[in-house]
Amino acid sequence: MAALTPAPLPGDAPASSGRGRKGRPRVWRVVVLSLAALYFLVPMAASFWFTVDDPQGFSADAYGQIFSAPGFGSSLLLSLGLAAATIVVVLLLTLPAMLAVRLGAPRLRPVLEVVCTLPLVVPPITFVAGISTVLRFGPEYLARTPFYQTIIAMQNPDFPVVLVLAYVVLALPFAHRSLDAGLRAIDVPTLVEAARNCGASWPHVVFRVIVPNLRSALASASFLTLALVLGEFTVARLLSFQPFPVWIVYISGSQAQVSVAVSLFSLLLTWLVLLAVSVAGRNRS
């Protein structure tokens, strides 16, 4: 199975994609592509127009103000930090579990799948309501215990660990999907046994055999998680923290142009990261 990974041989991939087989499919391709492009580009162009519109004509002022607007740097850094922590935790949680299930208890695979997909069907509002109830649970007599202090520390606005935990849950379905696709493409048990047979210890098997072959799956899991954290508003807002998305909404109340500029900026940022990730996942040759 592992050998069937559709890795294109050099030389045959680009040739076929450029030219359509016949004239008609090619026309349709252009039409569909243009429609899709319009759908995405028009709102963005309009946003951009709005940000640079000025009584005097053109002004890039809004973009200049982004960086000086209060809270921009701290909220962006907070979001990136949360994203990094979430990625680490979610990968450390899903990958070992999925490997263990594949190698040791294949019958539990559906169970793991259901558990990991569950967050998709729980509305964020419900989720937050649950979290805040738990966080409020702090009777007086516990005030001096490490338990209580941990709960307080988790809500430190400088780095709210509770948000990481919440995001880990929200990212679970995406991480699971990506990794599952990656694991399907390789014959994990055989590769593990081949590596064990060559004298590799378990850590060596995981880091030198499994992880390198899951590079693009890990990259896409990371990217989806990153995108999720950079865009998550409900949970953060309702728990009263101020990562980047919340800050955008906050700033839009006072400076409309700046807030749209920031949105475009964050879109650009996300794209760049996507590009970086897909390049990282691809450079095999």
Partner: protein, 366 residues
């Protein structure tokens, strides 16, 4: 019932200190309700190539995996050179394995695949690359080192896997149907190459297969497994000529079942009394006869008729219908197939030598 084990393996081991002796001692393994190994006892001599042969699901892979350390017997032990290795983890066992499915690491090129084990052992890069190149040459692939597994054909992948299995100079080589995914021609050349390599390295090799031709053609000895037990282990010629049990006779090569009547150590079949190979029997039996032990002579008063003929070059296999309507297969020299064309009446006799008998088949009476 078991035929005497011949010393064929002994000849091969001369001068080969590289191979280890592998012993299966009362291996027992069950998965839920399936008993995969049911008290397997078997010794593989140092330096010999032993083929593990048997129908699907008889426990061949399970036995092999017990040696590699991927499977653990519920009871019994695996001994290598007299040492019980049952508790040794898979990565510390001295056995290289080639898997049935393609098992090269997709992210490494052929050379790094071969060198993987050396890298685990922290051999310096220059040294392990040189060794990998050497091994690739050994398996006949001197120039594919830079290629990735998806750029190699199935046969090439299995060769690289073989080189990888040999990289750490193990004293036991385990091959689990390494050729089953390949096409017939590649299979034949590769199995001969495996044999040549095995002989020159003197490495003890267990070769799992369900292809009896493969087993007979390259093995020093063949062990036939049936439902997790050893049915017979002996050299290929003896296995073919003197199968110890009807099961082996049936499984290795083709067998005719011809009804006969036994009385003690003789059995009357097709109007002729032949000695019985095995304990005395009485009453109706099936006599087991190889197609090449059937002699056909064209005769106008013959009671049998040739109904079909398939030419195979040096021989031809004929299907013959007997007077009672039953059919048997006969191998005749290729040039005789003209005289014995379908429709020709023939008389059927058997080569005069001891025959195996078994319980009559249920369908035989009709």
């Amino acid at each position: 019932m078991t035929a005497p084990t011949t010393g064929a393996a002994g000849d091969v081991t001369t001068g080969a200190a590289a191979g280890a002796r592998v012993e299966f001692r009362g291996l027992y393994r069950r998965f839920g309700d399936t008993v995969a190994l049911d008290g397997l006892d078997l010794t593989v001599e140092p330096g010999e190539l032993l083929a593990l042969l048997g129908p699907s699901g008889c426990g061949k892979t399970t036995a092999l995996r017990c040696v590699a350390g991927f499977e653990h017997p519920d009871e019994g032990a695996v001994l290598v050179d007299g040492r019980d290795i049952t508790g040794v983890p898979a990565n510390r066992r001295d056995a290289g394995m080639v898997f049935q499915s393609y098992s090269l690491f997709p992210n490494l090129n052929a050379r790094d695949n071969v060198a993987f084990g050396l890298r685990v052992r922290k051999v310096a890069a220059a040294k392990r690359h040189a060794r990998a190149q050497e091994l690739l040459e050994l398996v006949g692939l001197p120039s594919v080192g830079e290629r990735y597994p998806h750029q190699l054909s199935g046969g090439q992948q299995q060769r690289v896997a073989l080189a990888r299995a040999l990289a750490l100079e193990p004293r036991v080589l385990l091959l689990d149907e390494p050729l089953s995914a390949l096409d017939a021609k590649v299979r034949v050349t590769l199995r001969e190459e495996i044999r040549r390599l095995q002989l020159s390295l003197g490495i003890t090799t267990i070769f799992v297969t369900h292809d009896q031709e493969e087993a007979l053609s390259i093995a020093d000895r063949v062990a036939v497994l049936r439902a997790g037990r050893l049915e017979q282990v002996t050299d290929p010629a003896t296995l073919y000529d003197r199968p110890a049990t009807p099961f082996v006779a049936e499984f290795v090569g083709t067998m005719n079942h011809i009804p006969g009547t036994a009385s003690g150590d003789r059995v009357t079949v097709l109007g002729r009394a032949l000695p019985v190979d095995g304990p005395a029997v009485h009453g109706n039996v099936d006599v087991l006869v190889r197609p090449e032990a059937v002699i056909l002579t064209p005769a106008s008063d013959g009671t049998a008729t040739v109904v079909a003929s398939s030419f195979r070059g040096s021989t031809a296999r004929l299907r013959v219908e007997l007077a009672d309507g039953s059919e048997l297969l006969a191998d005749v020299p290729g040039h005789d197939s003209v005289r014995l064309a379908p429709g020709v009446r023939v008389s059927v006799t058997l080569v005069d030598r001891p025959v195996l008998v078994s319980e009559p088949r249920v369908s035989a009476g009709a």
